[in-house]
Symmetry: C2
Subunit: 346 residues, 2 copies
């Protein structure tokens, strides 16, 4: 069997697995943001008709998963693997959602990089013929994350200017080699990231902690595929936010691979208006998951975008590691997505 490995980190997918469908379910604040109209469902309130925020997050995952399956004209029993994760301890949103679906479950933890971690793994499994149809999910919820990582909401603590706002949202993406509908996009390459840590210890500045990992993965992808930033219509990072994005642009410039400001966007900045008081921007697994499935995939399907890099970024610390004085390691996984529309056809 020939290797599909290109260079050090990138893997080429000769079968170009199709993204058959994507679905995104978000909270009310995200619904009021600039992308509000593109999401499949906007919750009326943070509880989504449930008894707890945790149950609401789980329900978002389930709803996004079922919408993606339905859009792709599959049944739950057609799905071979349900893979994904979230920010909660022991990824209870994903695993309890998996309990409702009678589908083999692959639990992932990549912090906010989970959406692209799942797409990398899922597309390799489909490309290799090990799975027919794979559903990748990722979610986060502002209220469950605040409760677990920071303070009870009732405490009303102040946020630092570098802090990001955890997106309430879930995204689901269905991958297959034999789609039953017109594909939204195809995955041609994946690049799984190394853990990079330049010593940032401020848990309220995760963008800065993740930017070096984002640069590391991008540089590997460019080197391995012998491409440059200009070969892509768009490079979309997960949730670096204002500060992380500036740092990524600076790092890439220093490495001789400058990214054009307008061809490099960040899901954490796309999802909220400046006026929504989210400080440095959105974060959480649900941030890149909902922006990919609600906003980017339709633009690839229409041919408005031809070829993009989608790269979620994760900060891999825990409250324990931070309390023990550890710095924050970052990781970033990237996929190259191509439009199914041929050149000159739109």
């Amino acid at each position: 069997m020939a290797t599909r490995r290109l260079g050090q980190q990138t893997i080429c997918l000769p079968m170009k697995p199709a993204i058959c469908a994507g679905a995104a379910c978000v909270g009310p604040k995200e619904g009021e943001g600039p992308l509000g109209a593109v999401f499949d469902r906007v919750m009326e309130d943070e509880l989504y008709g449930q008894q707890s925020f945790e149950l609401a997050e789980r329900q978002m995952v389930l709803d996004a998963a079922r919408m993606a399956i339905q859009k792709a004209r599959f049944r739950e029993s057609d799905i071979q693997f349900f893979m994904g994760g979230d920010l909660l301890n022991q990824i209870i949103s994903a695993s309890f959602a998996a309990r409702e679906l009678a589908v083999p479950f692959i639990g992932l933890y990549g912090a906010c990089s989970t959406m692209s971690e799942g797409l990398c793994l899922g597309s390799m499994l489909v490309d290799g013929g090990h799975a027919d149809h794979v559903l990748c999910v990722a979610s986060s919820h502002f209220c469950t994350a605040e409760r677990q990582y920071r303070f009870p909401l009732e405490y009303g603590n102040q946020r630092t200017p570098t802090a990001q706002w955890t997106v309430t949202g879930a995204g689901a993406t269905l991958l297959s080699l034999s789609p039953r509908t017109a594909p939204m996009a195809r995955i041609t390459h994946v690049c799984m990231g190394r853990v990079v840590d330049l010593g940032v210890t401020d848990a309220n500045n995760m963008g800065a902690a993740m930017a070096p990992a984002a640069a590391d993965t991008l540089l590997s992808l460019f080197e391995d595929t012998r491409t440059a930033p200009t070969d892509y219509d768009l490079i979309v990072t997960g949730d670096l936010g204002q500060i992380g994005r500036s740092l990524l642009l600076k790092l890439m410039l220093e490495q001789g691979m400058p990214l054009k400001e307008n061809a490099c966007q960040d899901c954490g900045l796309l999802i909220y208006e400046q006026e929504q008081d989210t400080h440095a921007g959105g974060s959480g697994c649900g941030c890149s998951a909902s922006v990919l499935n609600g906003y980017l995939l339709p633009r690839l399907q229409s041919g408005e975008l031809r070829r993009i890099i989608f790269m979620s970024t994760g900060a891999l610390m825990s409250t324990t590691s931070s309390q023990q004085g550890e710095s924050i390691p970052g990781v970033a996984h990237a996929v190259v997505l191509e439009s199914p529309v041929e050149k000159g056809k739109n």
Copy 2:
């Protein structure tokens, strides 16, 4: 590309990825148990020369990983993916260990099923040519788990008779299609499990919560591969313990697929003596990880075992889900391991 899927859940691996090497590093209590002599390293105390139990667990992961790489005559830079996880929130043992290795990191969360979750995924990636060499790790530490899930050790709480004892241990397994040493075993099939929950809510009886998932995966594997328990020298479960194992035997009998008592063993029962006061037996990701790498792989390599099912089992609850009154979902992932020794050759 032809599908490698057999039946509903099982995947056949035509390239039969080799397990090149395995290494296990365990705590002092595990060193005093019946398998004490087979582990590569036994820590002198629970701190392993570190400042905290969390740092000790991370160091175990690193040491097991580096020993496996060295035994297989690889260098760290040869490894394409470092994949695995642990029981700690945000899997800090695995992700901080990954920071030390400049290798792309795939974070997994499958609770105590992590070792076989990693083997399933890793062997599919190697089989498909997406990775050359993959290192799978899993770990747990009695003191970090007690602190996080139960009570501070200083509290000295009493344990219920159904409680299990979290193993202090880490295991690392190196998978490849091009081994540089004689393979220890080959992976021929994988079967990824569904999340199964029969409503057990007692967090001190995880064996009972995991047994239905173990039965579900085993039954799928037998059906998909048209095999029966007698086709395997041994069926090894992760950490069902005394109670979970009895329940599994009962469930399999009811389903018309009885397991023979002596051909079905549990890592949680193998690792401790009755006199070690561990109640229902060992548990934790490190339990099946250390028993596989220290005890089972050498017996496959020698030909003493020809063909076994290795199936780690996980209880997917969190303290939050338990406090919110949820029952405990279980999951079990299985791999079929074959000896490299041909029949009649030993």
